[in-house]
Structure formats: C-alpha cells, structure tokens
Amino acid sequence: MLEVEQLSGGYSGVTVLCNIHFKAEPGEFVGIIGPNGSGKSTLLKMLYRELHPETGTINLNGTPLDSLTQKQIAAQLAVLPQQEEEAFSYTVCEVVELGRYPYQKGWFGRTSRQDREVVEEAMRQTYVDHAAHRTLDQLSGGEKQRVYLARAMAQEPDYLLLDEPTNHLDIAYQVHLLDTLKQWAAKKQMTVIAAIHDLNLAALYSDKLLLLNKGNQELLDEPSNVLKKQLLQRVYGTALSRVIHPFAPRPQLMLEPDHLTGNIINGPLETLQKEEINNELYVTSAMDWKTLSSAGEENGFIWARTFSLSMENWARKKAAFEGLDVSSSDMHVEEDMDGCIKVYTAVINKVGGADAGWTYRPDFVCILLFIDSELNEGEMAGVLAAAAEAKGQAAVDTVHNREIMFGEGPVTVAVSGQRSSIDTQEEIRRRSARLVYNRLR
C-alpha cells in the first residue's frame, strides 16, 4: 500500500505542492488530474524521489521512502516517464534488461537466467518481443512507449507511476495501453498511479481520481464524484458539460467550444418551414435543434435540421393489410401564446369500417414539438412524456365507439438550446401538453 501524508514540497525553495494525502491499495488505479501547473508531475517526482519533499511522508508498504536505497525503491516502484531521452541506438532487449538493474547484485552484476526470463516475459506482454534485437531508432513512437513499459515491467514493481502515458499515442494505442495496465493491476495486484490530462480517459480507467488545483488537493474520490460539472468548471476555468458514457457506468465530459455553442439566433421558431421533398413532407430549419424522438434514432438524442412529418406510406401499407383505406393526412401548425413553443401535427385517418359504426378515424398522429428554450436531456424526456400523455388524453376524449385511437406515431421534441422567457421546465411541460391536446382535440 502506498501512503502519502501531509506532503508538501517543490523545486528549489518554491513550494508547488501543499498538504497532499492519499492512499492507494494494491490493484488500484489512481488517476491524478488537474490543470497545467497544478502539481501533477511534481507529485509523481516526489513519489519516485526525483524531488525530496519539504514536509510529509511517503510510505511504501509501510516503510518510509527515505529509509530505502534507490535500488530498493526501484525494485518496488517503476516509472514510465513522459518523454525519454535517447542518445545511442540501444536494442529493445538491452533497454528492457535495464529494468533488472535493481535485482543485480555486486559491482558487475551478472545477468541471471531469472533476469532473462523476466525480460522475455515483459517483452511478450508488451508485444515487443518480435523487435527484441532492433534498435530504438527503428521503432515508432507507440512501439517505443511499449518498450519503456516493458522495461518498467521488468522491474516487477508493486507500484507503477505514469506521467501522461497516452501523450503522442493514437486512440487505439491509448486504449490498448490502459487496458493492459488495468489488467496487470488486477492480475499482479499492482498499484497504478497515472497523471492523465484527458479527463475522459481518466474517468474510464481510474478507480479513484485525485484532483489537484494550484498545488492543493481539491478532491480525492471515485470518478463520478470528482468529475462534477461545477467543480471542474471552477478548477479548469472552462465551460464543459457532463454526459454519461453510453455503455459504461462512468461520466464523460464534453467541451463547449465558442464557435459552436455561442451562436444566438433570434426567433429560431421563425426559421421553421414546411417543405416537400420527394412527395414527403418535412419541417426544415436554418439551425440545428437538439432532438429527442420516440421514433428511436441513434441514442434517442440527435442534432437535426430536417424533421419528417409524414409517415403516410408506412400508414398506407399498414391500413391495406387491415383491409382499410387511408385518407390524406391532415396537417397543422400551432403556436402557444408568447411564441416559445410550436407544434406540428400530421393526422392520418383510416377510412372505412362502416360496419363498426365509423367512416373516418384519426389513427396515426405524428407530433413535432419545437421549443425555444434551454432544456437538459431529463427535461426533454419530461416534455416528451407530457406530450405523449396529452396525445393519449385527446384520443380518449375523442373516442369513437370506445375504440382507442392515436395508437401509432412518433412524438418528437426539439429544443433550440437558447434561454427563453419561460424558464421553469414545469411551465414548458404544461404548455406543451396543452398545445398538443388542443391541437388534437
């Protein structure tokens, strides 16, 4: 177990880090995050004793770091540095073998058979064994990184420290490297401590995150508690939003670039217009709307400029199957009183069923609800539910021979993302529902 208590220190008299304290258990992956200059590298340097702390203690398995020799430390703790200097063309094998240095005794320290086996195993695990006798300058950046990782693994460490390990690596290498580390951490009960710039990677791989801010320990907790929108916006001083990972129970953070998020269009509802493309009816807009549709596209949420209003062909096929006819659709637009919500509806009537006592029956309703406001995903889902309820209520209230209608048809909610005059989501939901109900009734 690695224990850090009340650690402070820095470079030649200038204190960079203040009062850091944390523990890392065997097998745990601790990510260190924080803005540039927050002290991530300084903390790592103190952990591998490149820097001596001014105050505080670091314990490796209960032993203070200060009471260990450099060799004893290296036999427990390995480092994958951010950037390696290389002057001569060593072969991969020679580089990896340097990892055995802490285990070689005596002045000349012969390489034992066991050393050789560990080196070979480390090269296999990092997939550089095929290049064992090639020199470093013949390798790509990603391969070199793996060679240095193999060297660190040849130290058979209990602790592995990494400084920006994914810098200069393409996404496949990033994922591969971190997956590998994660596996080893679990299998060998190795503690991994990594300074990571990429918050999303940090969120995906860390068991715990240590957030540093100007040399102080801001927070140490699991990723979902550390990667909070307000906290990160304060620490990093930039706007961002938190979203969920579609498949993994971890938060992800989205940046908000000015040129995409800062545009304000006056009266976005005004830009909407009906348009016929290939005999199908669409509503189009000059801007992108954040859209949630029960038609179930992508993850539910998409950005869209065109919205299909008719599913007439689909309705006709279905009606034909039931031996009925379909009347032309009945299209309407309606706006609420202060012009913040606009609803488009298309109703498709079934024709026939005289024996059942009706000739026209509104059967299929397509609802497009445009809201000039700022809603988050949950609020949009709330509006969608309210609109669907209103649709159901309208159906019940117009029941013909007690048959339920409006059984089919998507409800789509699109929001402009701009702050509007109505700002409570309660109000938006109520008005949207009323608008839909009024329209259909």
Binding site: A74, S89, C93, E94, R116
Partner: protein, 347 residues
C-alpha cells in the same frame, strides 16, 4: 541481453587485435626482429628465464629496453584514452565528447609545459618530474572543477560540470598560450610534447601510469551498468535504481584519472578517445558491458599501431603520433559513419 555468442566473438577479436598489435609493435622497427624471436624474448622476460645463445644480445636489448616499454606505454595510453572517451560519451549522452572535454587535460598539460618551460626538476624524481607534476596539476584541476560545481549547486548536474570544465579549460588554455608565446628555446620541445608522443619514455613512465590506469579502469567497470542507465537521462536512471550522483562522480573521477595520467606521460594525443569508442559502438552497439572492454582493447591496439607508423614511415625521423591517429582514424570513421547512415531504417 546481447547474445552470448556475439559477446564472445567480439571479445575474442578485440583480444586478438590488441595482442597482435603488441607483437607487431615490438618486432617492427629500424631493426626487424622476426616475430617468433620477439615472442620468445617476451616469453622469457615474463618468466625470468635466461636467454639462449641463439638469440642475439642486441635484439634482447632492443626489445627489453626500447620497444617493449614504448609499446606498453602506447597500449596503456591508448586504452586509457579510449576508456575515458567511452565513459564521457556515455555520461554526457553525446557521441562527440572526448577525454579532453572536462578540462582535466588542460591542467595536466599546463603542469607539464610549466616544467618544460622552467626546466626545474624535483630532487629524487629526476626525469619523472614532468609526469608527476602533470598528474598532480591535473588532479588539482579536477578537484577545483568539482568543488566549484558543488559550490554552485547541490545537485551537480552533468551540464553544469561540463560548463565548469569548459570555463576552467579556457582559463588554463590562456596560460598555456602565454607560455608558448613567451618561450624561446623550448618552443619545439613544448609543441612536440603537446602534439603527443610515446617515444623515449622508458619503463619509468609505463610504471607511473599503471596504478592510475588500474584504479581508473576499475572505477569505470564498477559503473558499467550504471552508464547504460545514465544514457537514458539521470531521472530515468534514478527510477531504475541508480544513484546518479554517486555514479556520475565515480565515472568522472575514473575517466579523469585515466586522462590526466595519459596526458602526463604522453602529451595530448588527439582523436583516440573520440574515435575509438565511436568505431567500437558502430560495430557492437552502445551497451557498455561490451563497449567499454572492447574500446580498451581497441584503443590499446590502435595506439600501438599508430605509434609504429609514426616511427617507421619516414624513419629515422619520427612523426607526431597525433598526426597519424587523425590521418588514419578520420577516414575509417568516415567510412563507417557512411555505412551506418546509409543503412535503410526500418519503421
């Protein structure tokens, strides 16, 4: 983990090269002594066996009194300079470093030139005054540089040591130039000493170098794996378990001892310390476990052969040995460099 075969072949070749050079160096000269004869003479000297009457007395005398001490001195100086060059290049992570980078040689040279200029001799030392003064002044220079750096910063980073070395070396160089400018009769002697030579030194000089050679080489061998780690930077070396401060000082001390002693007995022979390690590295790779011993063997052989050339090419006039080292070393170096750089790099 270089392959063991490669290591044995390389070491065998190195030993054979050094041994052959020694034997040729002893046999060839103004009087040619057949190789089997000179082998027998050496063998008999080594084991203290009396010479049979079949071997001419003159040959025995030439070998024991003139050629053998000269060849052995050349071998020791060549080995020292090559070892020091290897160490400096590894420590500084710079293939262009040489034994004279640190400025210890300037100290040794200044001591020697002062002795030549003033012509004084220390009682009891006699002709050994020059090398002894030279070694002492080289050692004082080293201590001064290290104290100066220590006084500047606790860490003693390599870059700072080098800069301090350059400062001291330029300062001493000024005095060297001053003495050369002031000198009259001894000018030729001083210049030829500065260009370097191993001629007419005798056993005393060889014996004087031996302890420094042994200590220096031992210090370097003690840090042979540390040198490999230090090539990747001091921070990385530390994470691998090396104490950079300790290793750096030991290597610097070892290399400086070798350089200072060499300069003291033979002047500043250029090129050996720069090119021999580089050539060997091109052939064997940069792993110091192989590079250092092979550089020592090759340096020894190389300097014996160049000295042979220096004294035979336009005999009886001797050429300065530095001229030969540069004139033969540079083209070979260029050829090997051309081959290495032209080799297509796989990606």
């Amino acid at each position: 983990m270089f392959s063991q075969n490669k290591a044995w072949i390389s070491m065998g070749t190195g030993l054979a090269f050094a041994g052959l050079s020694l034997i040729i160096g002893v046999s060839v000269g103004s009087v040619f002594i057949p190789i089997p004869v000179s082998l027998e003479i050496i063998w008999r000297i080594l084991f203290g066996i009396d010479m049979p009457p079949s071997i001419p007395e003159a040959d025995v005398s030439i070998i024991t009194n003139i050629r053998l001490p000269r060849v052995i001195l050349a071998a020791l100086v060549g080995a020292s300079l090559a070892a020091a060059g290897t160490a400096f290049q590894g420590l500084l992570r710079n293939p262009l470093a040489d034994p004279y980078t640190l400025g210890v040689s300037s100290g040794s040279a200044l001591g020697a030139v002062v002795v030549l200029y003033t012509g004084f001799t220390i009682p009891l030392l006699g002709t050994l005054t020059l090398p002894v003064v030279s070694i002492i002044s080289g050692f004082i220079t080293l201590l001064f540089i290290l104290t100066f750096v220590r006084w500047m910063e606790q860490q003693m980073r390599t870059e700072t040591i080098i800069l301090a070395g350059i400062i001291v070396s330029s300062f001493l160089g000024a005095f060297l130039s001053l003495i050369i400018a002031l000198t009259g009769n001894e000018l030729r002697q001083i210049i030829s000493w500065l260009m370097g030579s191993v001629s007419m030194r005798g056993w005393d000089y060889a014996a004087l170098v031996v302890p420094f050679f042994l200590i220096g080489i031992l210090l370097l061998f003690m840090n042979i794996r540390e040198l490999n780690a230090l090539v990747f930077g001091e921070e990385t070396a530390r994470t691998l378990g090396v104490s950079p401060e300790k290793s750096r000082i030991t290597v610097l001390a070892g290399a400086s001892l070798l350089t200072g002693a060499s300069v003291a007995v033979s002047g500043t022979i250029g090129f050996v310390g720069l090119v021999v390690p580089h050539l060997v590295r091109l052939l064997t790779g940069p792993d110091h476990r192989l590079l250092l011993p092979l550089s020592i063997l090759s340096g020894a052989g190389f300097l014996v052969l160049t000295d042979l050339a220096a004294r035979t090419i336009i005999a009886p006039t001797e050429l300065p040995i530095g001229v030969i080292t540069a004139a033969t070393g540079a083209p070979v170096f260029g050829f090997l460099l051309y081959h290495q750089r032209r080799r297509p790099k796989r990606r």
